[in-house]
Structure formats: C-alpha cells, structure tokens
Symmetry: C2
Subunit: 272 residues, 2 copies
Amino acid sequence: MSDARPIGVFDSGIGGLTVVKALRELLPGENIFYLGDTARVPYGGKSASTVERYSVEMTDMLVAEDVKTVVIACNSASAVALPKLEQTLAVPVIGVIKPGAQAALAATRNRHVGVIGTRATIKSGAYERELRALNPDVRISVRACPLLVPLIEEGWLDDELTNRVIARYLEPLTHDGIDTLVLGCTHYPLLADAIAPFLAGKVQLVDSARNCAKAVEQLLDQQSLRASRKGEGILQVALTDAPDTFLGVARRALQLEIGELQLREVLHPAKL
Amino acid sequence: MSDARPIGVFDSGIGGLTVVKALRELLPGENIFYLGDTARVPYGGKSASTVERYSVEMTDMLVAEDVKTVVIACNSASAVALPKLEQTLAVPVIGVIKPGAQAALAATRNRHVGVIGTRATIKSGAYERELRALNPDVRISVRACPLLVPLIEEGWLDDELTNRVIARYLEPLTHDGIDTLVLGCTHYPLLADAIAPFLAGKVQLVDSARNCAKAVEQLLDQQSLRASRKGEGILQVALTDAPDTFLGVARRALQLEIGELQLREVLHPAKL
C-alpha cells in the first residue's frame, strides 16, 4: 500500500521551507505541496482570531489540492489555530509546537527550557501549555524576538549586527539558567549558526522544523499513508503573493530544488 | 461654508498616525477617520498588484464613512496605488510621495536627493518618477531599509543597535553626496532624532508626513472643504486587527489623543 497524495505544508510565508527541507531529508519519496501566505505575512504580530481565520483559509486551499495530511509549518498558526483545525479538517493535521515541546523535554537535564518566537506565538502561551501538559515540573523562560524574522529576510544571517540583536534577546534566558532552547519559529533554524555561540555549549538548541518532520514520519507510518519509496518526490510551491528577495535567501540557505512557483489567490469564505 | 465630514486617512498599519499628528497640528478643527490595515500589515514587502488591491479595499471602507477626502498615509500604497485611486474615487485623494518630492526639491541645494523607504516603495521607483517630473536634472540615490519599521515597532527608538542599522543603511547615501534625505515611509519620523546625527548637519531631512499635511490643507482650501474652525476635531481610529504593542509606542511618541478603538473587518469585493 502506498499513498502518492502530497503532504500539504503551510506557513505565513517562506520560513516554513525549513520544515520542507527537513521533510525532504527524512522522507525523500514524498510529494509535497507548500503554500505560503505571503500576501498577509507575517502572522507573528497579529491577533489570535485573525491568525486562526487565515489558517483555516490556507488549510482549505491545501485540502482542495487533495493532500493526505496538513503540516502547519508556522509556530504562530500552530499556537492559535491547531485546535480548530483538528476539529474541522478531514485529514490529519500536525503542528510544530508539540513536537518541539517533546524534543525539548527529552533534551533538558535541569528541566529549565527556554522558548523564543514571534509575539503571537509567545503571547499564546502554547509552548508553556504543551510543556506543562507533558511535565508539570518543567521551568520555562520565554522571549518574543520580533526582529529576528526581519533580519533573516534581510539576508543578514552571518552578521555582527544580527549577533548583537540575538545577544540582547538571549541574555535574560541564559542568565535565568535554561539548558535547552526551543527555536519556536520556523525562520529561526536559518540563524542556528548565529545563535549557537551565545549558548557557549551549555544550552541545547531544539529545532522545531526537524522535530515536526519526525512527527510527520510517525503519523504517515501509523496511518499507512507513506508514498512508495521509489524515486524522488516532487516539491510544488504556491504563494499568495509574488515572492520578494527572501525566497532567494531561503533557496540558497536551504539548497532546495523548487520548480516553477505558482501564485494563488486567497479564497475567502462567502460573506453575507 | 464649512464641511464637517471627516478627512479619511489610511495606512497599512499604525505608522500613518505620524500623518495624523501633522494634520492635527496644522488643521486642529478637522475631524479625522483613520483606518489601519493591521490585519495585513506590512505592505512594504508585498507586490504592487497586492498593495493596489488592498488600497482599493481600504479606501472603499473610508468612502463608506462619508469622508470628504482620502489621504494615503502610506508610502508603499501611494507609490503603487495612487493612479488607480485617482481614477476611481469620487472624492479627492492625496498621497505622500508628491508632497515629499516637492519639499525635497525645495530643500536641496546641490540637486542630489536621497530617498529611504520600504522595499515596495523603493522598488516602485515612484519617488524617482515624481522628482524627475518636477526637475529632470535632479540626482537621486535610493535605499530600501526593511529593518527600520520592525525596529520602530519593537520600540527601540533611542537605541545603539538601531543607530548601527541606520548607519549601515545611510552610509552609501551620504557617501554619494546627497544634501537632502526624504523619509519615504510614514514610520520613519519616529526615528528622525536617531537619523539626524548621521547626517552631521550636512543633509536636510524631509518628513513626508508633515508635507502631506500641508498638501491636504491646500486641497481643502482650494475646494472649500474646510471644517468650521470652532472647536477641536474628533479623531476616530479603526483597525482591521486588534492592535499590538506598537500602538502604545506610537501613542507615547506622538502624544495623540485616541478615543475608543474600532475593529473593522476587511470587506472583500464579491468573488465569482
């Protein structure tokens, strides 16, 4: 039995391609349909109800592509929209928060975990809820880092100014004594090399992209949804607005083979 | 004759409140209805066709408020949507680009003008077109500064890190020999004090917010649209998404009296 339908992946923009990269490495035979809501990016500063509405619209568009599962490769959307999507979607849905929380708890020795993300993700408290549900004794320090995504999109990945911003954001967390840091935004793995020196080998990084890909692999196995392992899967990328320079940054940094880009209009539910 | 209908002002977000501030100072008797598209902010990284579509939707919402004129307090929207809005709106419309270009040409002595703005504004070439139409001999140096808006929204207005980013963006322009710099984004006046030291008294700053307010005053006088000068006008603020921390930053920095905030859903034209 094999299922050649694509895995549907969505993100507010292009940062979710880090999850696609992890999926390609772990599940090379799978077809992937990626949808980035670049017409309304970023979600990270927006309210929970708006992010939920956008997430429903995006996943509806993925379901129309006959995907076999939906991956929310966006922490902000996972943080606020996952419960709603789990209720309403006819296919299984996986976010990035739970896999990240599980990996953080597996990694921590002193049970003190740090989480960085966008304002929407941090404000939602989703990581705290997930971590505490798994282990009520865990200590958690969080920090919203709204400048990291713009710095990444500017392409300043290996840059002294970016390092200074990272230092300012991380200092209170390392001072608090965390021994594990969750990169709670799918853009942030692009800064993993820049973040590592500030942790001085004392803090482990948990990359939500990679852990999300592992959760997808488990799900496909459990539900017998794997594609045939012969040949390499196809990656299709659709965006709701024409891409800007950041797509080039992501392509170079991730070395992803992306074919022709598709543009899709957001389909709004009928308003009366 | 007086006309008490409000002046309609729109921006992609809250940065356009710098234009409102300038309007309040220059035209204290006018009622103002401000609409910020915070559900889709920022426009600055998005494509011209998307920014034009959003601008049409926002101005339609303002016209429904019975405004007597529309002010596009957003450089990105002015840069790409003004021609379309001039054709389609039943009330006069004013953007920020032309007033800024006129002020820059009045200020420059060596006829070498610099312009900074978002990616969308700079990519549009709108300032170059406007400046060259007014004076074909002007030299122009431009630079997209996509990190300035996030830095302002983070509230890092008087901050050494922000100063370093400004220095990096401005160095090529001052090195080129500009003697006048247009702040081609309505957020940027909030950084005027931070930008000034890098110009070392040799470069004049042109604030598009203040010049836009002057253009509105002229228009109201020409078309006999002024409100009665008795009493102070009311400022109403509506946003398409719940405000985040930046509204507090703007309120403090601009010292604007904003009453109760209204939330408005974006009205999309019917899709078939």
